[in-house]
Amino acid sequence: MRFYGLLTVKSLILAMIFMILQVAIASAQTEMVTDTENCLFCHRYPNMGRYDKNGNKRIYYVNEKLFASSVHGKLRCKSCHIGVDQIPHSNVKKVDCSSSCHIKEPSTGKEFSHSNMVDKFRASVHGGGTSDTAKRFPEDLPSCKYCHDNPMYRAPTGVWGQSEALINETLARCMGCHTSSHWAERFYSHFTHRMRKRRSQEEIVALCTSCHEDQEKMARHGLESIGTYKDTFHWIQVQYGVKDAPDCISCHVPVGYSAHDIRPRTDRISPINMDNRVKTCSNQGGVQSCHPGATTQFATGRVHAYGMKAQLLASENQEDLAVNEDISLVIERAEEDLSSKELFHYKVLRLVKLFYKILIAFVIGSMLIHQGLDYVASRKQLKSR
């Protein structure tokens, strides 16, 4: 009996240790992600997913660690995934970034929402337009998620230069009062995330060109493909990874503007509107000055190379170029967008280029013939001696 009793005490202790361990693990997990809805019960398994009707692979796995260190890591799943109330999930709505989540926005105390940004975006060139000015082919337009992909908070380096000591010093000051290091680092990341560029210049160009280089897609909206940027010195600098080299947003969303609020160049507040060009080129909100001495004449010139629109307007028979594509809208827009002066400039540049092509072919061609003849003659002369 005594022996049996000892065993039960032992097993009781063991059981308690296990329980404590389990609680410890569970509490560690809950600190990582606020999964009060227990979604990770299923979604923690890497193989979770299915093929949809179109044969596309849909992955429903959530990597807990990655999600926890993302900007949305503190949100509950149902804050964004509205309608997930039963299993299997039916009636789930698509994530709408303008909806309110249950986090309080600290400055007003109201429920947090991205609706301000979404409203701005809807009115911009990338938005669908209002009901009376609705755009054709709305499926071509980017959604929030096209550019925003729930980015990770990066390790807190690179804001105050590359000095790690300086970062630790700053963080240490926060943690003097805010003793939870997890909270302090997250708050610190929240600020510093907005103080640096998330994407390199090349990544920005890649993002914008993922749509804007698609000639067919652009033609549907009366735009020309953005290959014209890649003919500029700006792009060469980006290619070489030059610091502060001008990518798309350097001019289209300079300091003081929002990427959500890109307007057509005819809009008075657009940074590439002729009235704002000098400021955009010379001194962007006092922060970056690429061409400090830019004159109006310099700044109001054409930055991108001439593209399809100039080609279309300059060509005699536009139908030849419009073989397979519906580019009537491009032709229509070309007449609005290109002034007669610009068209004249395009024609002059084309002529200069043509002149040089002919000159090079003629000069080098005749040189080759001449030297070839000379070679034969010299060889003959050399042999005869």
Binding site: F298, K357, M367, A377
Partner: protein, 256 residues
Amino acid sequence: MIKKRNIFRKKFDVKSDGHRYFMRLNFNERVQHMIFLICFIVLAVTGFMLKLPEDVVQKFGNARDIIFFYRGILHRIAGTVMILVSLYHVFYLLFSPNGRRWLGDMLPRFKDLTDMIGTMLYYLRLREKHPEYDRFYYKQKLEYGALIAGATLMSLTGLLLWTEEMWPKFLLDIATIVHAMEAILACLAIMVWHMYEVHLRPRKFPIDNLWLTGLIEEEEMREEFALHYKKIMEDPELRKVYLVAKHEEGDTSLRA
């Protein structure tokens, strides 16, 4: 100095003994050529780096922004030096006796046209010999003319692009095209025209030492520039300028 030159000649000219030499390029002109040549290569390399395909640029790795920085600096330095040498050359042509003679010999004449036709006939084997050339013949005059036109255009457009903020964008666009196309033309012309002349031509292979020594052998001189040869032999003044005595005699006119 004489010793040094003899080393030079022995190294590059095995047949120096017992031959008479003529001065084609004097020391000053050789230095001008050397500086221009170095500038040209630096400019071509740093300039065409802007036209590299994307994947080649990527191969520079993380150092590519530093490479780009020095590329720009080097291009500007070499451009400035080239402009200065060109300006000095104009000064040389106008104010030095040798330079004035150069200018006089380089001016196009009617004889160049007949020479050209004659040479073509010779190439097509309709003639036994090519015409007797003077100091510079039509091919060299054309090349020299192209050099002057090219250097002027490249300098002008280069300076425009360097001071871009002061000019209308349209002018800069033209300058960009001209600068790039002229560069292609110049490099191709140098490769086809000039490199052939001094490297590939049957008697010159692998390289003509004239750019270093400035000298041409009497035999070659008589064959290639017969008219000039005759002129020199008839005129004691010109003999003083061009004729270099056998090197055993310790001649000092090498620096002309």
